[in-house]
Amino acid sequence: MLKMILLSFVLPVFTGAGVLAFGWLCPPLRKVRWIASCAFGVALACAFALAYFGEMGYMVPAVPPTRSEGWLIVLGLFCLPLSIFLACTEDKDHPWVETTGLVLGLLIALLPALFAGDKSVFDGSAKPLFPDMGALEHGALALEIGLGFILLVRLSTIRSGPTIPCALAFAFLGGAALSMASGWISLTILFGVLSAVSATGGLFARFSGMPMIGRGGASVAAILLILLSTACWYKTTAPDDLQWWYWVLVAGSPFLLVPLENRLFAKMPDAGAFWVRMVVVALPVVYVIVKALPMITGDGGSDATDEMDEMMRMYQ
């Protein structure tokens, strides 16, 4: 049990924290723009990959994957070079960001579907990430990832410091709660690791001259948050009281920071504005956790239990 916790959680979180410490706290490195810009993204991607491998017993995944969730590690590993590449494009603005976002969204949503399936070059041996999803749903996923990327990248250019990492920590925590309620242990750990690394990022940002998470960090965070939330929703076997829009609330919570970037909040003291922003982001996540709590503790969501209670009442 201890080995499992160490390999799947502690080691990935410490690795992510180590990457962040190099990129944000180490004085010579944090002055290099692209390193500071990709540190958060690389930390998330490294921690995600390590946690995944720790969960799977350090076995090399099949490429293309023969099980649908195998795509998660492929896409997680893809985030690593992507984060570094995008960090080097910080000076490029409109329409680079929008184009990149939409192309990335299409690529990530459609790549597993193109590689897999009966008509692919792999003759059906590979599985798509979402086997029953149609073209319209894959298109919607591409749009979600693209929009998420654009919004978070735009937000990362105007909001520095611990605000975005802390908001992401809340969102990933909500994802962990929903995964636990769904019974998916691996995804719970992955979300938990991402939440812990984001929280560490928030802490480091407080003491490192308020760095920005950068284009590299924003892209990885947006992709992982939307992709993992969709995978959790798609694969859940939880009863219907775990509503689809819980995942929307969780995955959408960091984007609530966007409308808060206005003149009213600009006039507020930094500390006050930070806490107001945190409360706004945390509210939907806390709501979802409270709703999912009975299914996490095992006290709710069972029709059989209700029927049993009814039977017991008959005897009383």
């Binding site: 017993g57 350090y58 099980r67 019974g183 242990i185 691996s186 939880a238 095992g298 069972s302």
Partner: protein, 211 residues
């Protein structure tokens, strides 16, 4: 005294029968074969009275039991259900029942049975051989498909009973076998010892036949 012409064919018939009997005894006991009886009876599994129980070690300590409640399929038999010929069994993953709904959800997740992607576990027999000196016991070979992976297994199957009348019959069998879940790609918890690799299955089958 000479035998009468009427008795002669009868005596010849008796001698032939005796020779045949002696020859068959000299050849040794004949194993109960699937070819023995003429007609194959197909029994449809009764989902209410069929169940697949599984047992796996938890945290290197206790043996944890669970079961699948929805078991469907057919059993081909001879000798009115007493001799199995073939089994075709399908188990619905979402009928998993550990007594704890939270644990059921965990077992249906992608870490284990991945119910959203692989809704059924199937078994198709390819050979049925009676076990010598154990009446009513058979070694049944066949293919189990779990998580989209098909592997050959061998099960010990016991005839537990046959009942009924010429119009309706019931036949019961119990199969016991062990699989390595990692062979099917279900690897979560194997390396860190959270959950054992060997899973023993005890499958109770009851089939119905009607004329």
């Amino acid at each position: 005294m000479m035998p009468s012409p009427v008795r002669l064919p009868f005596i010849i018939l008796c001698v032939c029968a005796a020779i045949t009997t002696i020859a068959s005894i000299a050849a040794g006991p004949r194993p109960l074969s699937v070819q023995d009886d003429a007609e194959t009876m197909t029994f449809t599994l009764d989902p209410v009275h069929c169940m697949a129980n599984f047992r796996v070690q938890h945290m290197g300590a206790g043996m944890f039991w669970g079961r699948f409640n929805a078991v469907t399929g057919t059993m081909d038999t001879r000798n009115e259900g007493r001799v199995p010929v073939a089994f075709d069994v399908s188990i619905e993953v979402d009928s998993i029942d550990t007594g704890t709904e939270k644990l059921d959800r965990t077992l249906m997740s992608p870490n284990f049975f991945d119910e959203k992607e692989f809704s059924d576990i199937t078994f198709k027999s390819s050979s049925v051989k009676p076990i010598a000196d154990r009446e009513g016991f058979y070694t049944v070979g066949g293919d189990v498909t779990l998580l989209g992976v098909t592997k050959p297994i061998e099960a010990i199957v016991e005839l537990t009973g046959v009942n009924g009348n010429p119009v309706m019959k019931k036949a019961g069998y119990e199969a016991i076998f062990t699989i390595k879940r990692s062979d099917f790609g279900m690897k979560w918890g194997v390396d860190n010892g959270a959950l054992g690799d060997d899973v023993r299955l005890v499958v109770g089958l009851e089939g119905d036949w009607s004329a």
